[in-house]
Every structure is written in C-alpha cells, then in structure tokens.
Subunit: 210 residues, 2 copies
C-alpha cells in the first residue's frame, strides 16, 4: 500500500502535535511537514515539498486558510486540502468547497472519521462530515454562495463597526457620505441574515471575521 503523505497546518501547537501523535498510529499515513501558518506552508510547497493531503486550519495568522486554498490551487500540484475548522458556518463551508477543498471537518470530529476522511480524500473522493453537509445544504437552498460574501469595503466597514465607530464616524474616516455607510450596513446585515448590530458582531466574531 502506498503511504499517504500529509501536511498539518494549524497555528495551535498542541493541536498540531496531538494530531501528529494520533496519526502516527496509522501506518499508511505519514506526516511530512507540520506548520503553524499559511506562509510557512506555501514556502515549503514552493521549495518543492510534495504531499498528498494538507490538513488545513482556516484561522491562522499571516495567511489564512482561504488564501492558502487559492495558493495551493494555483500550484497545480495535486495536493488535496482538507479543512479542519472550529466552526460550521454555511458560507465558509461553501466557499471552501468552491475553492478546492476536498473535505471539511470540525475539530470535534472523532479519530475514526478523521482517518476515514484522509483515506477517502487520498483516493480522490470528497469528504464533508454529516453536520457540515447538512449546513451546506441548508445554506445552498436559501442562499447563493456569492450573494453573502462580503466585499472588501464591507469588511472594512464591519471592522470599524466592531471597533465601536458610529456610521457618521466611519463616513468621516473613509471620506464618504453617511448614506454610503448606511447602505453598507444594510447590505452586511442582509448577507449575515441578522437584524441588528448586536447579532451581527456576534456572528462575525463567531466566524472570526473580526
């Protein structure tokens, strides 16, 4: 049997080491690299490191999971990313799938599912855990993927809102009218499917957007 060459990318050292120890028990899986952020990962890949699968955390410093997915895709290197995240949020899952992820697991998956997923993805199958699939289906049925991805400006505005700036203050800071900011606010609320600032900030922090 061929060995599955695997890279772990996660900024939590304990998780990374733990995962490595856990996977050691499985003879068909070999960890060829373990990195703490996306830049490190891309560096390694650009230096010619080869692997079959990357276990990829979405929230890392410097270069997050999405950027990594994009980077990996552009390499054309036949490396299959499996996203491992804390959160199951519809538009993130969909975005990952769209960006070339072969799997999406939560950090509360159990060992057997993780190993199962790795082996399946290695064979070219995709693996999204039950909870994730359900979320994704719910999400797909109500929203089109592109619809609720925030634009750069909206993300910027959201950041300022979360810092406690009012619409007026944000408008002044960005040299645009308050109307514009209001429109952004409305649009953000709609995309997040929430009805006010409180809910918005909560949801945004939940998915680590702030």
């Amino acid at each position: 049997m061929n060995e599955i060459k695997l890279i772990i990318a996660d900024d939590h050292e304990l998780f990374r080491i733990g995962l490595a120890e856990l996977l050691k028990k499985h003879d068909d899986i070999k960890i060829v690299k373990s990195v703490a952020d996306g830049v490190e990962l891309m560096d390694a890949l650009n230096s010619g490191l080869n692997a079959d699968i990357v276990l990829l955390d979405l929230t890392m410093p410097n270069m997050d999971g999405f950027q990594v997915l994009k980077g990996i895709k552009s390499l054309n290197a036949n490396i299959k990313p499996i996203v491992i995240s804390m959160h199951s949020v519809g538009n993130y899952i969909a975005k990952c799938a769209k960006m070339g992820a072969y799997g999406y697991l939560l950090k509360n998956t159990d060992e057997s599912e993780l190993v199962f997923a790795i082996r399946n993805v290695y064979k070219g199958k995709k693996h999204f855990s039950a909870e994730i699939s359900e979320k994704m289906i719910n999400f797909m049925s109500t929203q089109s993927v592109s619809e609720n991805v925030l634009s750069r400006k909206e993300i910027e505005v959201l950041g300022l809102i979360s810092k406690g700036l009012t619409t007026k203050e944000i408008a002044a800071k960005l040299f645009v009218s308050t109307r514009t900011i209001e429109t952004h606010r409305t649009s953000i609320l709609k995309k997040f499917e929430v009805k006010n600032t409180a809910e918005l900030i909560k949801k945004a922090t939940e998915i680590n957007l702030i």
Copy 2:
C-alpha cells in the same frame, strides 16, 4: 516517582485525543479520564473519580469552564485545574485565577511548556505562561477586578442583547419595563468601558461571556 493523575476536559475530540497521545509519552503522567463537557466532568468527580490535575477548556457546551472551576472548588478534593484556552483576555485570566485555577495556558503553547506546567502544578506551584502573566499584570494595573463584574440580571440581559433582541423585546420577555432594561444596558456599557452595542458584543465574546 508518583504518577500524576490527569483529566482532560475539552469539547474538541481531536484536541482531546491528540493531547492524550502526546501525554502518553510521559511516563509520570497518566490520563484517568477524558470528557467533552463540564457536566460530564462533574459527574465523574461526583462519582468518586480522583485526579491530581484537570486540563480544562474554558469554552464548553452545557457547563463552561468557570462553572466547572466553581464546582471543583466546592468539592474540596485537592484537584488542581489548569485552564487551556484559545484566548488571552485580561478579565478572563484574572477571573480564572480568582476562581482557583492553578495555571492558564494558551492552545498554542508547546509540548514542553505543557508538561512543565503539569509537573509544576502537581507540586503545588502555579503556572501562568509568560504571555498570560503579562496580560494579567496589565489588566490588574488598570482595572479592579470586582468593579466591573456584571450582576446576574445584567448577564442575562447581555445574553439576550447578543441574540439580537431589542430593549423592548427583552423587557417583554422578562416582564419588566423597558426602562429597567435601558438601565441595565447603560450599566453594562459602563462596566465594559465601551460606548455602544457593537463594541460591547465584541468585548463580551472576546472574554466568552456570551
């Protein structure tokens, strides 16, 4: 040498298993139990399970880390909790220390520090990692811990605010006048030293109060 009996409490299975695998290598540490939430942990302890140390995640479903700390203290069982968290927020760390935690580590600590911390805490010492200590000192110097502790009612109101309920809705739900809720809001904002809902929710989620 005596074996250090240890319990792991974390809702992320992969992290739990990984941690277990990692600690297996150290002969002086023995994992006697591994649980996914606070209720499970307290059940085990109440059924007579004995341990020296609990590695405790702060954010768990059903019963969070704070409640667990309180519960453990009331047992009088000489079990020393070490908090392992994703976040380093002053308020939070201080609260843990006050509530009887013997240590506070971030999930990005490395293996050697984890083991070092476990052994030290076992000997009765306290272990707060460098980053944590720094945060705590900063916090202590600017804030008195007790001054900005929310009352139960305020916590309840805060929870409802974070769910997106308006003042009016909260008032209706709790059978009090909107004035009362407004007063609570004002008081909460003051205690958090923030000026509006957006900032409030952000800060509150940062310290996992919601």
